[in-house]
Each structure stands twice: as C-alpha cells, then as structure tokens.
Amino acid sequence: MSKNKKIMFGLSLAAVAIMIMFFSTMPSAGSKEVSIEELMTKKDIYQDEYVLTQGLLKEDSIKWNADKIELKFEIFEEGKTKYLPIRYEGVKPDNFSDDVIVIVEGFLREDGVFEAEKVQTKCPSKYEGEDPNNYDAGMHKKMNENKQD
C-alpha cells in the first residue's frame, strides 16, 4: 500500500468514528416537533418524550408568580380551540403578549400540563417590519377574539 493510500485509510476510519458519534448523540440531543393537536390527542405516545411544539399565546391565560419565578400560560393552534396548558420555571421572555408565536420545549406530564424547559417567542416576521399596508393591530385582536369563541 502506498503512503497516500494508508493515510486515506486512516482518515476514513476516523470519518467512520465521527459518523458514529453523530448518530449516537442524535436521539438524546434532539426534540421531536409535533403539533399541539397531535400532542393532546396522542398523550400516551409522547408521555416521556422531549418534544417541541408551538402555538399562539392566549393572553388572558398568563399567570405569573413572581415569588416562585413560575410562569403558567396556554397556547393554541391557529383556528383550533384546544388549549395546551404550560408550566415553566423561569421568567417571561421579551414580546410575551398578544398573538405572538410561542415555541416551547419540554415534557408532557400525565395530568396534561406541559412542563416546559425552554420558552421562546417568535414574531411572525422578526426582522421584517410589518407590511404597513396590511397590518392593523385592531384587526389582529379581533381575529383572536373570534378564534376564542
């Protein structure tokens, strides 16, 4: 075998080792992304799994306990009426209001409450200013109220 080939052989062994490392860390480090609907209807499947889900914040559901640093709120899917209750030990993220999209990661408890380990907010379009022609704060609010009926 030439030296070049031997070096190549050694490097490919290392490559295999690194690939194994990728795959072995993957499941433990990942979070499954599921919809609220699926999470709530198939409770037992997702019981002990670390999942990620997202939905719109129901503003009047926010309960913030400053002394315990505990945040409780509910999120829902656009156009649906199921509310997922969430408990989070931590502070309110920025922009935590109105029809902001909330991304949560954590576990679904047996009693149906989602124990979040991570709460993030996302504006529908973070860096883009809202379209000045189409955006109407009042209209958005109304849309939300209608959804809640």
């Binding site: 030296k3 490097l11 860096y127 000045p132």
Partner: protein, 659 residues
Amino acid sequence: MYLIGNIALILGIVISLYSLAANIVGLKRKDRRWLESARGGIMSLAFVTSIAAFLLFYILGTSQFQYQYVAAYTNSQLPLIYKLAAFWAGNAGSLLLWTFLLSIYAAIIVFNKKKQNSMIPYVSIILLLNMLFFYIVMVFNANPFEMTDTIPADGKGLNPMLQNPGMVIHPLTLYMGYVGLAVPFAYAIAALLMKKMDAQWIKLTRRWTLTAWLFLTLGNIIGGWWAYLELGWGGYWAWDPVENASFLPWLTVSAFLHSVMIQERKGMLRTWNLSLIILSYILSLFGTFLVRSGILTSVHAFGDSNLGTYFLVFMAFMMLFAIYVVATRYQLIKKESKPIEAYFSKESSFLLNNFILVAAAFAVFWGTMYPLISETITGTKVNVGAPYFNKVMAPIMLALILLMAICPLIAWQKAVFDRFIKNMLAPLLTAIAFAIILVAIGVKGLYAIIGLTVTVFMFAVHLTEFWRGICARRKATKEGFLKAAIQLTRKNQRRYGGYIVHIGIAIIAVGVISSQAYSQEVMKTVNKGETFKVGHYDLTFKNLAETNKNGNGIVYANLDITYKGKDDGSIKPEKIFYATWPEPSTEVAIKSNWKEDLYVVLSSWESKDKVTFVVKINPFVSWIWAGGIIMLIGTAIALLGGKTTSSLRVKSQQAGGQK
C-alpha cells in the same frame, strides 16, 4: 429619484449581459478590443451600482417615506446612523449591498491594466454571472426602490433588536466575507477553464481569500457580541441555523487557507483545494438561501418570500457548473499531483487539520439540516439543538486545538522525532503544571479542565516558537529583544501572522470553555432594599425609575453591588419602550472585568418596589472579544506580508536551519 434607482438596476442587467457577451466574443475571436470593452463594462457596472447604493443611503437618510423600503425599516425619530444602517435591515437592501460589494470587487480586479493577465476575462465572466443574478432578483422580486401607494406620515421604525452598534457592522462584515469568496472561486474556475494546473490562481487570490476569511471571522464574532449584548439570554452563540450558515464557510475557508500552503510549496492536493473553494463559495450562497427561504425555523430569518427559490436555482446552477468543470479536467489535475512523502511531516499534519475542519463543517451542516432530513425519512421533524452541537463539536474542537499545538513543531517533508519531542517538552510541562494548579485550587469539571489544559499547551507552543525565533535572531544580529521580535515577524509575516491568529484562537477558547462550563445564573424577585447573592457578588435593589431618551421611554432599576464584601459601584439594567414597537425590549447591563462579566437583566416588575431580575456570572467572556482582536491583528500581519512564495521558501529553509 425613483427613475434613477430603477434605471440603475435595469442598466445593471443590461451592462452585465453586454459585458458577458463581450468577454465571450473576445475570448472566441482572441480580440483584445472586445475584452477591453468588457473591462469598461465592469467599471461602469461598479459606477451604476454605486449610484443605486448611494441613492438608497440618501433616501434612507432623508426619510423619504414614499419608498416602501424606507417606510418599512425607519421612522423619522431614528438616529441617523440607524437610518443608514437600515440599508441592510431588509431583503431588498441587503441584496443591493451584496451586489454593490461584488461590483466593487470586480472593478478592483479589472482596474489595473498592468496587472492584467490571461485569466481576467474568465474571472470576470464568473463574477458577471453572479452580478447578473443579483440584479435580476432585485428588479423582479426585491426592488429597494419600490414606492408605497400612499405616503405614510411616518415609517414603521427599525426593530429594536437591530438598534445596536453590532447591527451597523455585523451584517456588513459578514457580507464582505461572503462576497469575497466569489473571487477565489472565480479564479479557480478560470484556471480550470484555461487548463492551467499550476498554483497561480492560489497565489493571485491569497489576499482575497484571507481578507474574506478575516471578514467572516469578524462577522461571526461581532454577531456573537451583538447577541450577547442585545438578546438578553446571556449567551453569544445558540447554534441557530442562520449562525451555522455563516460558520460553515468559515470552517471550510480555514481548511483551505492551510491546504493551499501545501499546494504552493509542494504541488499536492490540487483537487482537494479546488473542491474546498468551490464548497466554500456554494456554502456562502447556501447561507444566503437559508436566511431567505424560511425552510428552517430561525429567529434570524427574514420573512417568508419566494426569494429562496431564486437562490436555490442559482446555487444548483453554480454547483453543477463547477462540478462539470472539475470533472472534465480531472485527469489533468490528477496527472500533476504529487503524493505525500512521509506520515510524520507538516504535509500530513495539515491534511489532518483539513480533515478535522471539514468534519466539523459536516457536523454543523448535518445538525442544521437534520430537521429536514428526519422529516423526509421518518415523517417527524426532529430538531437538534445546542446539546447536539456542543456534544459533537467539543471533541472536534479539542482535537483541532491539540493539532494546532503540535503542528508548528513538525517540520516540512520529514520531521525528526527527537527534535519534535525536545521542542514540545517545555510547553507540555507548562500545560501539566497548569492543570495541577487548576485541580489544586479546587476547579471542578473534567472536560473543561482538559480543554483548558490543551489550550494552554497550544498557547505555550506558540509562545516558545516566538521565543526561539527571537533568540536565534538575537544571536545572529545582536539586536535588542523588541527589535528582534519585530524584525522576526516582519521577515516572515505569513508564518508569524498565522501564529498570532492561533494565539487569538487560544484566547477565545479560554473564554468559550470557561463561560460554557462555569457560568452561574440566578433568577430572583426582590423587594426594595433587599439584597441577594450571586457568586461573590451581593446585589441590593435600590429603586425602579423612569426616564426618556430619543423619544423612547426607559424603565431602569438601580442596583448596588459589592464584590467579596467590598463596594463595587452600581448597575442599571433597563427596559426600553420604543414608540414604534408594541413591546418593551430588554437592555442588559454588564459589568466586565478581566475574569468575568456580571450580566444583569431587568425581567419584569409587579410594582415599583417588587422586581424580578435574572443575573448571570459569565467567566472570561471578554476574552472572546479580545481574542477576536488578536486574530484581526494576526491576519492583518499575514495579509501585508508574503509577496512571493519562492523568496519565502528560501527564507524559511534558512530559518529552519537555524533551529
């Protein structure tokens, strides 16, 4: 002005089409006049694009809200600097910035008549293709000079998160890096098209590549600095898809910068270098595509638009084109490549370095794309977050730092093992002593201690390299210490510039490892006058107050700090209520010293007397920024030096003989 802007963009398409045609005709007929005309076309392209760019600056600066772009990203109260920086706040403007930079780069390449060589027409064809694409996108999809139907009284204002000095420079530096990669790519393809298999294209683009790499480095570090100051979660890197997108080309270009040295000296690794630069260029397009396509959820992304498709098509086109060119000339490349002569040589250690860097790039790419991959295969989207990246990248980066420590000690061609061991001894003992001290003073955390020890080892190796060089020089020339140090670096700028960059990386590594392993966080709700403890700090909440600045309301808390019982001043974390933004934004307060940052966030308040804080102690974070500056200095030294490689080869052999 609407007319001028749009005419400039349309002229952009027309001129780039014409110059493309002129180049091709000139090459076919071997007619200098056509090529001259194409050269003129590129110069006028730079002129036209500059007009468009200055026009956009002008309408932004003077708040002409009849333009959609101005109305969407600024308002009249915004400080002038942010009005101007809104240039790259949105899609259309950032595309114009890209085109502007590219046209200037292209003009620089063709500008000097004396430096013309036979590659230039080919190079300009590739760059023109790029520019044409961007002009087409701007005219048909993201025109920065679009008008509004009715002129609004005031604009929407700039997103508060973007109102930070980081925003002014971070995108700019990153774009300069991205765009700069187009130049070595164009040269590589040009060399292939002309079937020139020597290392000339590498020599001609060494400064371009190094500059692009420098800007990528700066862009990433400034991005981290901005996230740290502005986003209020106490970190600087979140492995977000968009951050990864700018990290990927950095990794591959870092590999390229090392492997080209082997080709320059030894004529090895031709295919590899070509592949690396093509990959880097494609990754720079990929980054732009990722930001604009909305295929991955990211806090950084621009709003959804069909721009992603444009980029995907262009990226695929360029990639297939590059692969085609390489494949058709593969036999030619292969014929002139030389094999490696010994395992234990600088060549093979550089090869290993390349392998690790590319593996790192692949690991990042894999993690970034995994949600899409898993969705295609299993149907469920699995997001991999920071834990995956930390787990996979930590050992890879450790291996890289270890290699950086060993590499400078290995000679070219065939290293002598005894001398290698002898040179390594002092730094190794230093590192071991350092580890023992860490354990003795009660530092916990095995991985962090290993990481820090390896970093110290790497650092010490580079210092002793300098030391040895200086001593040898003093012996020969009887110069003073400082003069010898300066002369040594000046005589061999590429080598010692590189070493300084490595030292910068060691400093950054200290910051990253210790802030990852030893940061502390406390979340606490306190009443007025109450004191709470974080690490060695005692914080006393004095009061909550209000003020006004630039038309924005500011609520801030006053906290008194004592450090280990001694008075250490006060700190004022804020929440800013921007007039144009519905929600207040966190403005972090940071108290920095050489070994740690006290990072205080005013989270919320129940009343004037009851407030919730998040307080973090992040050790050695300021070292990351300092390391960045050292990297900048090192790269600048390497950039300015090393005109010709042949003279360098002679010199380095002499230096090698002295050791």
